[in-house]
């Protein structure tokens, strides 16, 4: 008999496959905080910068929104996560900073130390 656990296992495997096929493991994952607090601090514009960059040909990036991690006074926050490396966490990201992150970090692999949390 198929149990609820079996059904869930299958669904989870499908979900994980979908995520991986979008480049979860092979790319730089960029998470932009998009809770009410982050949006109020201006994260929509930041998200837009990354979206535009991808639309304009930036590759090997997995862009995702995320909820609030709780770091209110440093919002908007953006994380760049790569398998096997220490996750990079940027605070107070403005659209200008986001453009810099695209150019320097995502394209050239340079971590911008002065904006780290």
């Amino acid at each position: 008999m198929v149990t609820p656990k079996d059904i869930l296992r299958k669904k989870r495997a499908e979900a994980v496959n979908r995520i991986i096929s979008k480049g979860y493991l092979s790319t730089k994952r960029v998470y932009v905080g998009m809770a009410t607090c982050e949006i109020a601090a201006g994260s929509r514009d930041v998200m837009e910068v990354f979206r535009q960059a991808i639309a304009n040909g930036l590759v090997d990036v997995y862009l995702s929104q995320k909820g609030c991690a709780g770091r209110c006074n440093l919002e908007p926050t953006v994380e760049v996560v790569e398998e096997g490396k220490i996750p990079v966490k940027y605070g107070r990201v403005t659209p200008e900073r986001a453009r810099e992150i695209v150019e320097r970090h995502l394209k050239k692999g340079q971590v911008i130390a002065e904006w780290l949390i």
């Binding site: 994980v16 909820g67 609030c68 996750p87």
Partner: protein
């Protein structure tokens, strides 16, 4: 792993070590371990390593715990004798010591992989907020990938409703809305009640000024709350759930709706959940933002379409709730804990926290503190750890004056209570309450009378008016406080406030009235001198009560005329390049001269 050395981000890998600094690990010599580790790293001249201390990581049986990032390698039962091997093999040669690594697939603390090296997060332990800021809240795939809905599947596969309730009881979980009633008992009462249909309600009517824990939880991880509710429905035998959320949270509502649609499509919600004969669906009801509707009986009235007013209990909602049917009502944070209780087990959950309060609590840390934000700490953490270790202390070199917990129903604790452990009983003993999780740090620039007045203004405004003590009593208290802050306080006012406050507490119908005087009574108890100064000397030491201030211009004045130009009352006189003077009779004490002076020549007292 060895490839990590060739990491092209940096020439050398920066290792970030996290050492568990929880009570059990400390008992197991983690402090000594820290010293040995530090010495070993220095001795071998290993560069680019930093050590961070964390709060309890919840793996006490395997403590002391050491985590090495990148890679999130976790070492358990670490002995001082193991340290040289770890340092040499892992930090120098880049090869983790397989013999000592442990693999944990707990739900909590997943945020650690990403945020573990930031001090703000180090002392935290995340159960409720385990996925907040980690996953995409609008994508059910993300939730599924972090073991989402596994607790539901487990419950439906091999747990009877009474097993679920037993597990929740074992966990020691208590209501996170503020009152702290044991959740398992509530579930049991509702399960036993027999009267046709039953309902499950999620109370997301977050009303405390400055509190945003529920919003953060729903916006960051809506599926967790839904999963908790579905499990609750199964446990008590309900078919219908309602999320009562305030209309001021549009994004949270949108994400909940999206999550519900996705859950229905996947078969987690609706008819025949996961192929079983259990059916359960959830709908959203919007509240219009009345504070009193966070009180469960008022909330139920509001859902029924009546005016949001409380009624006497008993009967409790567990027996007669929504439409007179047995109703299980829990707060957002409580629901979010349920999947963890089921998957990691009640025994594990009850190993976190203090004797009487288990698990963690989310706080919205705000006010005069460097790092404001949403924090989740194990019960038993002290206020000092929250304000200084997580919050980073008070900015601008100011002194801490008090910590306000519990919002308009809570109290102000002065500095001597900094080492109070956070649990329901200790906070109550100290004269405040746990509440739903607002925490405001107050420095010496705040006037305690003004603060009490702010909260009474709020509760007075939000009193539904049903019972006289609350409706009239808070109004009178507000009048007296307004008078005191205007410099018109009379001898005997303090005693009057105390008498009135005690009366309101004793004779009000619901929690709103019963707790409304708390901010006043606790500030009188702990800061009586400040009240007395206001009344007898007409002095506000924080310089916040405008009516009691007088502005004067001192010797530093260079006669620039900036204050004269800005003064709306024309109260400042003086020739150019000569010292100016304020006419106290004309001065309206707006403080603009003080703000505009570049030479710090204006003083207020």
């Amino acid at each position: 792993m060895a490839d990590l050395r060739k990491d092209n981000n940096v020439k050398e890998v920066h290792y970030k070590l996290t050492l568990c600094d929880g009570p059990t690990c400390i008992h197991n010599q983690s402090k000594q371990l820290h010293q040995v580790l530090d010495a070993e790293i220095k001795n071998r001249g290993v560069q680019n390593v930093s050590i961070h201390l964390s709060g309890c990581l919840g793996m006490c049986k395997k403590g002391p715990i050491l985590i090495v990032n990148p890679g999130y390698t976790m070492y358990g039962n670490v002995k001082a004798a193991d340290i040289p091997e770890i340092v040499q093999s892992h930090l120098v040669e880049g090869k983790p010591v397989a013999r000592l690594t442990i693999i944990e697939d707990h739900l909590y603390n997943r945020f650690f992989r990403i945020f573990g090296d930031v001090d703000f997060f180090g002392k935290q332990m995340r159960i409720t907020l385990r996925n907040c800021g980690i996953i995409d809240p609008e994508n059910i795939d993300d939730y599924l990938s972090v073991r989402g809905y596994e607790a539901l599947a487990k419950v439906l596969t091999n747990m009877k409703p009474q097993d679920v309730i037993a597990e929740v009881k074992k966990s020691g979980l208590r209501g996170r809305g503020g009152a702290g009633f044991p959740t398992g008992l509530k579930w049991e009462f509702t399960a036993k009640a027999v009267n046709g249909d039953k309902y499950v309600i999620c109370n997301a009517d977050e009303g405390d000024p400055g509190a945003f824990m529920d919003r953060g939880t729903i916006e960051g991880d809506p599926h967790t709350v839904l999963e908790g509710m579905i499990i609750g429905g199964y446990a008590i035998g309900a078919k219908k759930g309602i999320v009562y959320i305030r209309a001021e949270y549009p994004l949270a509502i949108k994400r909940l709706e999206k999550a519900m649609d996705a859950a229905r499509q996947c078969g987690f919600l609706g008819k025949n959940i996961l192929g079983t004969d259990f059916s359960f669906d959830i709908e959203i009801r919007l509240g219009a933002g009345a504070f009193v509707c966070g009180e469960e009986t008022a909330l139920i009235h509001s859902i029924e379409g009546s005016r949001g007013m409380p009624r006497p209990r008993p009967p409790f909602p567990a027996v007669s709730g929504l439409f007179g049917k047995p109703t299980l009502i829990n707060n957002v944070e409580t629901w979010a804990n349920i999947p963890v209780v089921i998957l990691d087990g009640g025994d594990w959950f009850s190993s976190i926290g203090t004797e009487t309060s288990k698990g963690t609590k989310v706080f919205a840390l705000a006010g005069k503190v460097r790092n404001t934000g949403m924090v989740e700490v194990p019960m038993g953490t002290t206020l000092r750890e929250i304000v200084y270790d997580i919050g980073g202390g008070i900015p601008n070199g100011k002194k801490l004056k008090a910590i306000q917990t519990g919002g308009p129903s809570g109290g102000c604790l002065p500095e001597q209570y900094l080492d109070t452990q956070i649990d329901y009983e200790s906070l109550a003993k100290a004269g405040s309450i746990m509440g739903s999780g607002g925490m405001i740090v107050i420095d010496e620039d705040s006037c305690m009378v003004g603060l009490a007045k702010f909260f009474i203004e709020f509760t007075q405004d939000e009193s539904c008016g049903k019972c006289t003590p609350c409706r009239e009593g808070t109004k009178r208290m507000l009048e007296i406080l307004t008078r005191i802050t205007r410099g018109e306080g009379r001898p005997g006012d303090i005693e009057k406030l105390e008498r009135l406050g005690g009366m309101i507490k004793k004779s009000s119908l619901c929690g709103l009235g019963q707790s409304a005087p708390n901010p006043v009574l606790s500030t009188i108890k702990n800061f009586r001198a400040e009240y007395e100064e206001h009344i007898h000397q007409k002095k506000c030491r924080a310089g916040q009560c405008a009516a009691m201030l007088s502005y004067t211009i001192g010797e530093r004045c260079v006669g620039c005329g900036a204050c004269k130009r800005v003064c709306p009352a024309g109260a400042i006189e003086g020739a150019r390049k000569e010292k100016h003077v304020i006419d106290a009779a004309k001065c309206i004490r707006c403080g603009q001269c003080f703000d505009v002076c570049k030479f710090n020549a204006v003083s207020k007292a």
